[in-house]
């Protein structure tokens, strides 16, 4: 049975680390203004993810994509 759970908002410092690490791993050196805008966008995504993850679906629900060999 899906259950609503409380999740904390992802902190700004964690998002900065996520973004900087990901961009470095992809060999991208952003201009400061690109990074600032990307961080704003990542905040929107993180808040969306908190909303999605706050519905606990248990372990049985399959992800939607299905590979058909």
């Amino acid at each position: 049975m899906p259950t609503e759970i409380q999740l904390p908002k992802v902190g700004d410092a964690a998002l900065e680390k996520l973004l900087d690490g990901a961009l470095e791993a992809h060999a991208i050196a952003p201009q400061p203004e690109w990074r600032a805008e990307a961080l704003n966008n990542l905040r929107t995504v993180a808040d969306a993810a908190t909303l999605v993850r706050s519905l606990d679906l248990g372990d049985a629900e399959e992800p939607a994509p299905v590979y058909r060999p």
Partner: protein, 477 residues
């Protein structure tokens, strides 16, 4: 039935519907070449103001029209789209053109050596491709603005957005440059331009039509479909484009399920409801007035709450950002300065999304689908707004919805995103309501059906069209 197309009236030829043109060319009343010349002349005259086209394939179109006319002269029966001019969003492969997908970067690609599957299918039905259409960069857009090619302008008010990302498709159809255009819809990119420009649009069920030979955005969510000025034209083109195709691994094998013969079936026996809850908030009064007009026209009194639509939109947002970023990671590293900044900075953010967030979104997608299928046991069709407002001004960055200032670019699709998230078929239906500002402009509703029931969505759209509540006249550019 309208009067026969007059051969000598180029303007009337150029702005006829696909059904009218096909009937006239098949019967020999008009040649395909005459239609194409009229359309090319209209594109020459009108498109500089609208900026819908990025490529006009005039010689190809003339050659194809001549072949169609020669076949008819030889006594051969023509296809259901005989001589019908059409154009495609420039993410469709067109032989001889680089598939730019709205970008600066992709125009350095070699020209396509083969047409996209849906282009080939329409031409197999004797339609005639006349060009490729402007779009938001890499389809990550709801505005129709493009920093490389300039915005496609709304033909009903050139100072306003066409909507995106299939902005050129909506603008070309509304301006009467072509009766039929193809677009793509990942989160709303057929339905938003249909609403802002005032055209009919069909986003079929996810997996119904082949995406072979189209440049992807988010393969988990990408759909292709038509925009037109009549429901009959949507049906004609949709029927011509069905069929299994090995070029799209995401396509679901389905039988040929034509709709054109059923568009007049009406709504008797259909359980139609208005989508409530999420779909009655964060819109301007005209968005809800359009839904109310559709409901009253159809005699609908029931409202149903769509469960968890906000979460569905959030999940679509995550999958879009992550998968789009993954697709473009190499280009972001190699040529970041060549992106539209508004697209680049969203894609950069997408690179940082943890896999667990994406997986949670995909798991929720399954759950939401199951919940919606339960809802469709109680009703056959849902009516919801297509956009929260009429066409914003070009360059407008924000709007205020329910007292909250929000960005235009990501939020024009707030009503479309939860629906495409689970791949439901939707007809976008343009209505004209005397509510709010800019009342001379259209705004569409979504007619939403269960999976694989495009016929139901189009039947309801056809009723709205027949009553006159919905219409898509050629804009007076």
């Amino acid at each position: 039935m309208n009067a026969p197309l007059p051969v000598a009236d180029a303007a009337r030829l150029a702005t006829a519907t696909a059904a009218e043109i096909a009937a006239a060319v098949s019967s020999g009343t008009v040649t395909a070449r005459a239609v194409i010349e009229a359309v090319l002349a209209r594109i020459d005259a009108v498109d500089p103001a609208v900026n819908a086209f990025t490529d006009v394939t005039a010689e190809r179109a003339r050659a194809r029209a001549d072949r169609i006319d020669a076949r008819r002269a030889a006594g051969e029966a023509l296809g259901p789209l005989a001589g019908v001019p059409f154009a495609v969003k420039n993410l469709f492969d067109v032989t001889g053109l680089p598939t730019r997908a709205g970008s600066k970067i992709n125009r350095d690609l070699p020209p396509a050596d083969r047409d996209a599957t849906l282009v080939a299918k329409l031409e197999a039905a004797d339609a005639v491709l006349v060009g490729a259409l402007n779009m938001g960069e890499y389809a990550y857009d709801f505005t129709g603005e493009n920093v490389h090619d300039g915005p496609s302008r709304n033909p009903r008010d050139l100072s306003r957005m066409s909507g995106g990302s299939s902005g050129g498709s909506g603008a070309a159809v509304a301006a009467g440059l072509v009766p039929l255009a193809l677009g793509s819809d990942t989160n709303g990119s057929i339905r938003v331009p249909s609403s802002l420009c005032g055209t009919f649009g069909l986003k079929p069920t996810y997996g119904r039509l082949s995406r072979g030979g189209s440049f992807p955005f988010v393969t988990a969510l990408d759909h292709l479909g038509p925009l037109a000025r009549s429901v009959a034209d949507l049906g004609l083109s949709y029927d011509a484009m069905q069929g299994e195709d090995g070029r799209d691994p995401g396509q679901t094998p389905r039988p040929f399920e034509p709709v054109s013969g059923f568009l007049g079936a009406g709504t008797d026996g259909l359980r139609i409801a208005v989508a409530g809850g999420y779909f009655r908030t964060r819109g301007l009064p005209e968005a809800f007035a359009a839904v109310d007009l559709a409901a009253s026209t159809l005699g609908v009194t029931e409202t149903v709450d769509v469960p968890d639509a906000a979460r569905a939109r959030a999940a679509a947002y995550i999958i879009t950002a992550a998968e789009g970023a993954s697709l473009h990671a190499g280009r972001l590293a190699a040529r970041p300065e060549d992106f539209d900044p508004a697209v680049r900075d969203r894609l950069l953010a997408g690179l940082a999304i943890p896999a667990s967030w994406v997986d949670a979104a995909q798991r929720f997608r399954r759950h939401f689908r199951d919940e919606m299928l339960k809802l469709f046991q109680r009703c056959d069709v849902l009516i919801a707004p297509a956009t929260p407002c009429r066409a914003p001004k070009l360059g407008q960055k924000t709007f205020v919805l329910d007292g909250e200032e929000m960005l235009v670019r990501p939020n024009l699709g707030l009503f479309t995103q939860p629906i495409s998230f689970i791949g439901l078929p939707v007809a976008a239906v343009p209505l004209w309501v005397d509510v709010g500002e800019a009342r001379e402009l259209p705004i569409a509703v979504q007619v939403i059906a269960p999976p694989w029931r495009e016929d139901l969505a189009l039947r309801v759209a056809a009723v709205l069209e027949r009553t006159g509540a919905a219409r898509a006249p050629v804009a007076g550019v």
